[in-house]
């Protein structure tokens, strides 16, 4: 087997490593207060990382043909899990998102978003929308994604559902959908957001907090804006060089979810703009290498899969960073690879593995082409 784009592995592992360090830094105090064990979160995350490395290794060697064939099955499984959450999920923070498996809890949303990308790539290869028009080409996958998003929304988890829709939409765009056709899902999406806000009070509160902040700059620092306020204090007080690794203060129960959704704020507080810039560079580099794989792939399935996975990771990162910096309403989205969390890390490392695998396949195909055309290939 040829060598693939090793940057993908290196950058993913770099982000995971940053994650381990920051999870320990941001979470040790809370772990101590909650479990009397400051290493609790670190230990959990190390176990998941080890598991994730295994998943990554498997995905980096997977047979793409078989993966393609398994796509519908994966989707079926994901739908079943998401359905189960609705029926028997575990409640936390006002939403039911977890499945308790005795030894661990699982967020089926992560499996769902991964399966959705896989299935969409499978579907769009078989029914190229560029040739089929709106109703036969664009509508079926759109409805499917919408249905899946609806299941996630039922938890309720607006942000993940929204990101899934945007990921699907971007994949349709990558698959060559006509631009005027794409206006329809945009309109539909706007309508869905409006309905969701009207029916879920907690979302509306957050959005109102957000709008108040963006328009007036003020925050209800004790109520709904508490978390964002604490996050901004963390980021802002970090300054150019930060307080030093481990020297953050905001993780001392000021900033809730410091080790998960708001880990970026702690990075900014402890490592300053220097560290933030480095983190942004690593993320950007990873996205670039991922999209490069998508662009080079000859096969529509692998291209769309690589594009979908990369876009999905990018969207999660952007959404997470936007929430932490106050540019988006507060929601619970993890920063890929970095945030504490099991299912997300496993799925993200699987994605990194797959991206690497596709880059290997691209290399093989290009080598084959070169051989065939006698070195005339550019």
């Amino acid at each position: 087997m040829k060598r693939g784009d090793r940057w993908l592995i290196v950058l993913a592992l770099l982000l995971t490593g940053i994650g381990l360090v920051m999870v320990y830094s941001a979470g040790s105090f809370m772990a101590f207060m909650k479990y009397g064990d400051r290493d609790y979160f670190l230990r959990q995350q190390v176990i998941r990382t080890v598991l994730g490395l295994g998943v990554l290794a498997v995905c980096a060697r997977i047979d793409i043909k078989r993966l393609e064939q398994a796509a519908p099955v994966m989707l079926g499984l994901a739908v079943a899990l998401l359905g189960l959450v609705v029926v028997a999920g575990h409640m936390s923070n006002g939403a039911t998102r977890w499945l308790r498996l005795g030894f661990a809890s699982l967020q089926p949303t992560d499996i769902g978003r991964f399966a959705a990308v896989l299935f969409l790539a499978w579907w769009l290869k078989r029914r190229p929308i560029a040739d089929l028009g709106f109703w036969r080409g664009l509508a079926p996958p759109l409805l499917l994604i919408a249905a899946l998003a609806g299941l996630i929304l039922k938890q309720p988890n607006l942000s993940s559902a929204g990101l899934l829709l945007i990921t699907g939409f971007t994949m349709l765009f990558l698959a060559g959908a006509r631009l005027r056709h794409l206006l329809v899902p945009v309109a539909a999406g706007a309508a869905i957001v409006a309905v969701a806000l009207a029916t879920h009070p907690y979302m509306m509160t957050r959005v109102r907090t957000f709008l108040g902040f963006v328009t007036g700059g003020d925050l209800d620092t004790r109520g709904a804006g508490y978390q964002l306020n604490q996050s901004l204090i963390a980021i802002g007080s970090g300054g150019l060089f930060g307080r030093g690794l481990g020297g953050g203060m905001q993780k001392l129960e000021f900033l809730p979810e410091a080790h998960t959704d708001f880990i970026f704020s702690i990075v900014a507080e402890e490592l300053g703009l220097i560290g933030v810039t480095a983190l942004f560079l690593v993320i950007a580099l990873f996205l670039w290498r991922g999209l490069r794989v998508a662009a080079r792939a000859a096969d529509p399935f692998t291209s769309l899969l690589a594009g979908g996975l990369t876009v999905q990771l990018g969207l999660y990162a952007i959404a997470n960073l936007a929430v932490a910096t106050g540019l988006a309403p507060t929601t619970g989205l993890p920063l890929p690879f970095v945030s504490y969390g099991g299912s997300a890390l496993l799925v993200n490392l699987a994605a990194a593995g797959l991206l690497y695998r596709i880059s290997v396949a691209n290399g093989e195909a290009e080598a084959f082409t070169r051989q065939r055309w006698g070195g005339r290939a550019a």
Partner: protein
């Protein structure tokens, strides 16, 4: 291949979108971390820091022999916060033996308590620690410092007292509050966001509390107690309004004891020896006599006529009478028998200027410089304000006022061969780390009389005790000299001198003999 080309361009569009979003987020973060840095740093500080006071230990007051006169004592108070107390009965069972309260009584009090209430105050700190170790929710232990005075009320008027916050409010506690109080330290603690835990982080800013300095006095605690005891007996048996006594070492000016009786409550008490002024009366005659001797204006044997009955007009308009009249006295006898008429005449012979000069030279009319709050200066008007009758009147100790301390120092000068000493109440101020901040040593002020003069005065004053007006103060085996005086105190109620106060003043030259 057309599909692949199209896909490539669309990937570029997506990439552009993602990178643009990242760039925007980076800019936002950079703005927060640079332009808004100081704003958020300030917010972070008010968020994350509480300053907690670390109380210093107030310095001790000691007597000249190192005996402790005042010290800080740690005490614990136990309080209950009813809303947090779950099981009053169980808390009562656990606390009762420690607090020394009957279980049933305590339970009743706990049940009936509302809000935050003291259960027992001023407990030993060990008991406070044991209560704290019980970790009963709703039961709080607060530590505090209390000032303790081992001699009790004795020395109250000298040392002063501190208030609830351990700040000196009168006496030496007030005068040296800054040094005794030390410096309150603080430490920045990090309150955690939601729980009530406060963390002391390794990098916490802190300022150590600096314990107060120890002040050693010239007072002899034992002597002070004896003086107070006898003063109290005297005041009680004579049914006097009040009494005071000061002992000084004439050769050093050190104050050995300074007592007042009755004791007034802290805050109202003052040391009358330093803060009150009286007409010295006959005790002041020693100044006139000393000046006459020093200026050689009369011999001891010189005879002066007096009057057996009634008054004598010394200068026009100024009538003076003796309490037990004789037709005349020698100078020496006039002092021993305390003749107002003769001393008034001597005053006139001396003249206003010289009288004023010697009085001033002995320290009358001005503060002695004793570092004691509220010291009075006494009153000695300038000669220009004197009338014709002032000279003989002042010569016998009227129309002026002095503090007991001034009088003691002036007599001390006679015992000390004519050299006036500065009064000294403190010996040493020593910081908690052992460094001496300030040391007081005996300071001679200046020479007032020649030694020959003081020797003569001593003889006169000894005669006062042996055969004169102060025979009651004789002490077997001791050489005592002194002078009595009947002071007059102006009573503001009746606006007249109605309350004669006996102020016997002794000076003990035994050590010299």
């Amino acid at each position: 291949m057309a599909h692949k080309e199209m896909r490539k361009s669309r990937v570029l569009v997506v990439a552009a979108g993602l990178f643009l979003a990242l760039l925007m987020l980076w800019s936002r973060t950079a703005w927060l971390q640079t332009a808004r840095h100081s704003h958020y740093l300030a917010r972070a500080q008010e968020n994350q820091q509480v300053r907690k006071k670390v109380l210093p230990r107030r310095g001790e007051l000691r007597d000249r022999n190192g005996r402790v006169l005042a010290r800080d004592m740690r005490v614990s108070h136990v309080a209950v916060y009813r809303p947090q107390l779950r099981d009053a009965a169980e808390a009562a069972r656990a606390l009762a033996p420690l607090l020394g309260i009957d279980v049933r009584v305590l339970r009743k009090r706990l049940v009936q308590s509302r809000g935050y209430q003291w259960i027992r105050r001023d407990l030993a700190p060990e008991i406070g620690a044991r209560v704290r170790a019980l970790r009963i929710e709703g039961v709080a232990v607060e530590d505090e410092t209390r000032r303790q005075y081992p001699l009790g009320e004795a020395t109250l008027e000298l040392l002063g007292r501190t208030n609830r916050d351990n700040v000196g409010v009168d006496g030496l506690e007030y005068q040296f509050d800054h040094e005794l109080g030390g410096q309150t330290g603080w430490v920045t603690l990090v309150p955690t966001g939601r729980s009530s835990v406060q963390l002391l982080l390794p990098g916490a800013e802190r300022r150590a509390a600096r314990d107060g300095a120890t002040l050693q006095l010239t007072i002899d605690a034992e002597l002070q107690q004896i003086v107070e005891h006898h003063l109290a007996r005297a005041v009680d048996s004579l049914d006097a309004v009040r009494g005071f006594a000061t002992f000084i070492d004439p050769y050093t000016g050190e104050i050995l004891a300074s007592a007042c009786y009755p004791h007034l409550p802290a805050g109202k008490s003052k040391n009358w020896n330093f803060t009150d002024q009286y007409e010295p009366g006959s005790t002041f005659k020693v100044v006139t006599a000393g000046a006459i001797l020093e200026e050689r204006l009369a011999k001891l044997s010189e005879y002066f006529t007096a009057s057996k009955h009634g008054r004598v007009e010394i200068v026009p308009g100024c009538f003076i009478k003796d309490s037990h009249g004789r037709d005349g006295y020698t100078f020496f006898d006039a002092m021993v028998q305390s003749s107002n008429i003769v001393l008034g005449k001597l005053g006139v012979r001396l003249g206003a200027d010289r009288l004023h000069r010697y009085a001033t030279s002995l320290g009358f009319g001005s503060l002695t410089g004793l570092e004691y709050p509220g010291e009075a200066s006494g009153r000695l008007r300038p000669v220009s304000a004197w009338q014709a009758r002032s000279t003989p009147t002042i010569a016998i100790g009227h129309e002026m006022s002095v503090t007991p301390l001034q009088l003691a120092l002036a007599y001390g000068a006679i015992a000390n061969g004519g050299v006036l000493m500065e009064p000294q109440l403190m010996r040493e101020l020593r910081a908690a780390d052992g460094r001496v901040i300030r040391r007081w040593t005996p300071q001679p002020s200046h020479r007032v009389f020649q030694e020959q003069t003081t020797a003569t005065l001593s003889t006169m004053l000894s005669a006062v005790v042996d055969s004169g007006t102060a025979t009651a103060t004789r002490v077997a085996g001791m050489h005592v000299a002194g002078k009595t005086g009947t002071a007059q105190k102006f009573d503001p109620r009746t606006r007249s001198y109605v309350q004669p106060l006996l102020a016997p003043l002794l000076f003990n030259a035994a050590a010299r003999a």
